[in-house]
């Protein structure tokens, strides 16, 4: 039995197979409509999340399975003091697979150690969010046709943004990827990403503060939200939240085939006027998220569809 804790749990070859499967699901959804008949997905969301939870639920429903779970810690036994280990032992009796989001980092790993069903990390604090990374990889591969030979700009909160950390680690495994980190001084990408991932493999990267200075170089612009929930100090949040706003003027500096991605929800960092630009890929990214989660559920449940 396999779990998914980090996007690097899959080798590059396994990831290719998963993305191939997701691509086939996109082209032939009807083939998979009953692949999980009679199977149940438990969504254990100790922290609120609209997008990820609904994406998992949609994925399981598209496969013919059903869904149960909770959407906040307050509506679970955690409010009575139940441990993660005890909760997952109980859930293992109710469902065939589970997706867990928890505000504490490493909670899904604790669950996976005692679970008798596959556990998917659906986000653990500021640590990992592997299914977002799978979504990002599928989006890039589908829209750019490759995962190597790319210059990707990551913009906004690069310090606390777990999606950025996971994506950098995942893309670092492909050939000729150049990273451009665009952030204010206070929200720079942590040193462990630079030292342990990029410097360790001699991968090229740049750190800049102005988005305009690098727009023309990018194949992909990955925007992120400055997340209020990651700040201990409200003043810092207010000062930094509107540091970057992507608008049509900035988009005019970009290549014609650049794509703009965002893990969503966005607040002010992408002006609504950009939505009409064909290079805005963030809503297509959401759709790819459903396909990749369908592929992941099938893979972890070892369901084969001919």
């Amino acid at each position: 039995m396999r779990h998914l804790m980090s996007p690097l749990d899959f080798s590059v070859e396994e990831l290719d197979q998963l993305l191939d499967l997701a691509g086939d699901i996109e082209r032939h959804p009807e083939k998979y409509a009953h692949a999980c008949d009679g199977k149940k997905l438990a969504t254990l969301f100790y922290e609120p999340s609209t997008r990820t939870r609904l994406s998992f639920e949609a994925a399981m429903l598209n496969l013919g399975g059903s869904v149960l779970g909770f959407s906040s810690a307050a509506s679970s036994s955690a409010s009575k003091g139940e441990s993660v280990s005890d909760t997952i032992r109980m859930i293992s009796c109710y469902a065939d697979i589970c997706a867990m989001r928890h505000h504490k980092e490493g909670a899904p790993m604790v669950a996976s150690a005692v679970s008798s069903i596959p556990v998917i990390n659906a986000g653990d604090g500021g640590h990992q969010h592997p299914t977002q990374t799978l979504t990002d990889l599928l989006t890039i591969r589908s829209l750019k046709g490759r995962l190597g030979n790319l210059t990707i700009g990551l913009c906004g909160d690069l310090k606390f943004g777990r999606t950025v950390h996971s994506l950098v680690k995942a893309l670092a495994r492909y050939e000729n990827v150049t990273f451009v980190f665009i952030s204010p001084e206070e929200l720079r990408v942590p040193s462990y990403i630079k030292e342990d991932v990029l410097d360790a493999q001699n991968l090229p990267y740049r750190e800049v503060e102005r988005l305009e200075d690098v727009m023309a170089d990018l194949d992909i612009l990955y925007m992120t939200r400055v997340q209020q929930e990651r700040f201990f100090n409200e003043e810092d949040y207010i000062r930094l939240k509107d540091f970057y706003i992507l608008d049509n003027k900035k988009m005019s500096l970009a290549k014609d085939d650049m794509i703009v991605m965002h893990p969503l929800p966005r607040v002010n960092e992408i002006s609504v006027e950009v939505d009409k630009d064909p290079r805005a890929a963030y809503f297509r990214q959401v759709q790819y998220g459903v396909y990749v989660r369908m592929a992941l559920i099938l893979t972890l449940l070892e369901v084969k569809v001919c």
Binding site: S85, H102, K104, E105, V110, G125, H127, Y192, D196
Partner: protein, 144 residues
């Protein structure tokens, strides 16, 4: 050199960085053992200038030396049996350590989950970096 009696069975931990012997005393849980322990601080050393030494008289299977590799793998461990040094053990960095140090990340699951072991895993041997198994927080060694 100050002379402390010869051990019949036990360990002599030599080449401890000066001033770290009490830290090692704590990590080895020597306060919980009913055995004879001598701590020598700031002994003269040709190699190190000053060093600490700990002599422990106890059965040689009683102490987990794995911990020492984590604290400082440059320590020399002399194993004594029947009044003689039977082995000079070279320490290496253990792959993981359990419940030796606690994760200090307030966002880590170890801060709330009952009876969860605090486990640190060696992630970079060359740079001697350990990270929490759960949240990947780096363990910061105390530098003297």
């Amino acid at each position: 050199m100050l002379n402390i009696g010869v051990l019949h069975e036990g360990f002599v931990l030599d080449h401890i960085e000066a001033g770290r012997s009490m830290e090692i005393y704590k990590y080895l849980n020597l306060d919980k053992f009913d055995c004879c322990v001598a701590i020598i601080k700031n002994a003269r050393s040709n190699k190190m200038g000053k060093k600490d030494i700990i002599k422990i008289e106890c059965p040689i299977d009683q102490i987990d030396l794995n911990v020492l590799g984590f604290i400082d793998h440059n320590i020399t461990v002399n194993i004594i049996k029947d009044d003689a040094v039977v082995e000079k053990k070279m320490l290496s960095l253990p792959r993981e350590v359990k419940n030796i140090v606690r994760c200090k990340n307030p966002r880590c699951i170890t801060s709330i989950e009952q009876e969860l072991d605090h486990i640190f895993v060696l992630t970079d041997e060359a740079r001697e970096i350990y990270r929490c198994k759960y949240c990947e927080e780096k363990y910061r060694r105390k530098k003297k």
